[in-house]
């Protein structure tokens, strides 16, 4: 009788959280199952390897986006940042190729990471020090990066020096122990991301800032630092994705990475990370990126829906995912 009746509603919300974190994996399984039933070409080894490899870019960038979003920010510039970084990398490698030979690739990769991190830092500082909505800031830089790559390529394309193609090729087309290299890199990025987010103080600070910035501030956490760093991590991830991306087509064009921000944010959201911050799911994000790629692949394989409508389907998915978040709540 006298025992507290206050805090007894214990089990319900936890079960709900567990469901929410299982959701993306179940969805992925369902999509794969549907694909297998729908099209006999889908479940072949080559196709699956293809799909997983192609999802790597979005998955890698989306790991970074998981940090940004969990700290209650948003980065719309990732797609055009990707194109910009790719362009800078190719120009650097082409410039260095005569003197360094294939080693130009390593310098180019390093430059890619640095430029990515710098772009992220720029976004982050404008958001935190300038105290401007991340939505507006990255909308602006999205335009800037896109214009820069268009200008750099003079509206055409920036091709990679032929001499480098052969040496660089394995980064996208090769494998280690049977795992395609982009997939291995994605796994590594996700592992590191999960470690930082779940097991380090920075990850905890990220959650706190996303959950309630005032609480974080009153607890002695620098909200500015945490958010800026999240944008830098995002930029680094874009750099890593660019490194994997270049050998695939061997060129940067004004349409490189177009609408990737939609795919990236969709992957994060269907992965179970809350858009309002405070809850992040790295592995859910990876599942989200896979779901998007599988659906796009199915649209290409089967003739039911035109593949030109891929972005439309992705748009529908992100809206449905947000509705699902609301309903679960």
């Amino acid at each position: 009788m006298t025992s507290a009746t206050t805090d007894m509603s214990i089990t319900k919300p936890q079960r709900r959280i567990r469901w929410a974190s299982m959701g993306p994996f179940i969805a992925l399984a369902v999509v794969i199952l549907v694909g297998t039933l729908l099209n006999s070409n889908f479940a072949t080894g080559t196709n699956i390897a293809n799909v997983v490899t192609r999802s790597a870019f979005i998955a890698i960038i989306a790991v970074g986006a998981t940090f940004v979003i969990s700290s209650r920010c948003l980065d719309l510039s990732v797609g055009s940042m990707m194109a910009f970084v790719t362009g800078i990398m190719i120009l650097t490698m082409n410039y260095l190729q005569p003197s360094l030979g294939p080693n130009a690739i390593f310098v180019g990769a390093l430059v890619g990471l640095l430029v990515g991190a710098a772009c992220g830092l720029l976004n982050g500082l404008i958001v935190t020090v300038g105290r401007i909505e991340p939505f507006i800031v990255t909308l602006g830089t999205m335009g800037i990066f896109r214009a820069l790559i268009t200008w750099m390529s003079d509206g055409g394309s920036i091709p990679m020096d032929r001499a480098l193609r052969e040496a660089y090729r394995p980064v996208y087309f090769g494998d280690v122990l049977g795992i395609p290299i982009p997939v291995a890199i994605t796994l590594l990025v996700a592992l590191v991301g999960a470690f930082v987010l779940y097991r380090t103080k920075y990850g905890r600070h990220c959650m706190a800032v996303g959950s309630n910035a005032d609480v974080a501030r009153f607890s002695g956490i620098s909200v500015t630092r945490v958010r800026t760093l999240a944008f830098v991590i995002q930029g680094l991830c874009v750099g890593i994705a660019a490194i994997c991306y270049i050998p695939r087509l061997g060129a940067a064009t004004p349409t490189t990475g177009q609408l990737w921000e939609l795919q990236v944010i969709t992957a994060v959201v269907i992965g179970g990370t809350l858009l309002r911050g405070g809850r992040a799911r790295i592995w859910g994000t990876i599942a989200g990126a896979l779901i998007l790629e599988v659906i796009a692949n199915l649209m290409v394989l089967s003739n039911m829906v035109s593949e030109y409508l891929v972005a439309a389907v992705q748009g529908v998915i992100i809206i449905l995912a947000m509705l699902a978040h609301r309903l679960i709540k």
Binding site: M1, T2, S3, A4, T5, T6, D7, M8, S9, I10, K12, P13, Q14, Y198, R199, T200, K201, G203, R204, H205, M207, A208, S211, N212, D214, V215, A216, R217, F218, S219, G220, I221, S222, G278, R279
Partner: protein, 529 residues
Amino acid sequence: MTRCAALPVSAGAVTVKTVAPHAEAATLAAVGLTKAYGPVTVLFDVSLDICKGEVHAIIGENGAGKSTLMKLLSGYVQPTAGHLVMAEERIEFNNSTAAEAAGVVLVHQEILLAPDLTVAENLFLGRELPRGLMVDDRAMNQRAAEVLASIGALCTPRDWVGDLPLAQRQLVQIGRALLEPRSVVIFDEPTAVLANDEVTALLDVVRGLRAQGVAVLYISHRLDEVEALADRITVLRDGRKIGTWPAAELSQRQMAELMVGRELDVLYPPKRTPPTAEPLLVIEQLVVDHGAVEASLVVRPGEVLGIGGMVGSGRTELFEGLMGLRPAEVSRIELAGRPLSQRRLRQRSVKEWQAQGLVYLTEDRKGKGLLLDEMLAPNLTLQALKQVHPGLVLDNRRELAEVQQAVEEYDIRVGSVHLSAGQLSGGNQQKLLLAKVMMADPSIVIIDEPTRGIDIGNKSQIYHFIDQLVRLGKGCIVISSELPELVGIADRVLVMRGGRIVTELTGDAITEQNIVYAATSGEAYGAAS
């Protein structure tokens, strides 16, 4: 006039049987209301009635079922069993709109107003008066002015709500509830966020409603208010009704005992001998918000320094400024006899202060203190992650051990440590917040409103905790709007008014009367002649 039924109180009675409500004069009656959420029943078979022209107070500890009862009466939730009776007819409220149509309205505890709209726009939000296709601003402003005048609000219909002080917003909220004639008005802790003079004004509003023949149900933690205002008092405990009594028959102490169901330990710890040691903290010329607030003060080891004053007198701003949480400058700070360097003075931050052994507990535990969606562990260690996790990797096992220790040490009552902070009662949240800042092992603790909105059992525990703290030679600053609290635990009280410290009270001079006088007139009581 026939009064509604009330039980005679037998001295010290704790177990009382329930009697059927006297339906005749009841405006609204609850009959055997029970509410269960899944397997958890939060309200058991509660019956009561509210009569025309009376103030019926509901008291009980947090978790006693007060909020649930209110929500049932005002249509926000529906009972699992039992029903409501209005005008001798059984009635059901499927939602709050239905209840409002029947004349029953709930005034929420949280202020639910749009800051970017005017007072009148807020009052009529969702029920704007039409004029053809447009809204009739003139009529709404006029009607708003009438309503505001009737409740003694000082704001005008065209004021922006965002510009209003808290007390005026509260009145706007009440005005919104009273826009149409009501037969039953339910107040959910309306004074929880108000300072004392504002409380007095609000009580007058409630009395005004009573005089107009409105039936008022009044929920409050402040027993002095209940004593001053209520005609009848119903006590809830653990979801059950303990009984209803005429207010005149209950003293505050009896109310408190009925609420907790046992004899209270002494609410306040015994007074300590005032310390005379060298100061632990000296602050000279702290100027906050470009001079809006300016103060100097000293804290000694073993001392509870009380900070009194009305809400808006700059108390919270002063200490947020000190902590570096809002723009402020300070000319000199001494910690345990050592002056801080100029660089340190400029770079004040929560983190820096914590390293120096000083922590600040915000008054806004839900907005600025705790991550309501997170579990106990991340909340507890947020401020001291470095101490708990010296390495690169978070040590979950150690964290859990810390939580268990804190749960015991601070008597945080939880069914499971896997609850989120938002699921705890106010008192347990406050204790968790206390445990959180104590993780840093500070030598000076600043607590802003240590017991706001929490029940009397938890209050007493927190007072005793503060006492223990200073007995260990630490210093404690308590900022409070609750006068009995300052009188009960402070060794010395500084009263603020208009951003300045106007009076220092010590020893027997610390009385509610002196604090109020200083806070309102800016002079020491008796000094003016």
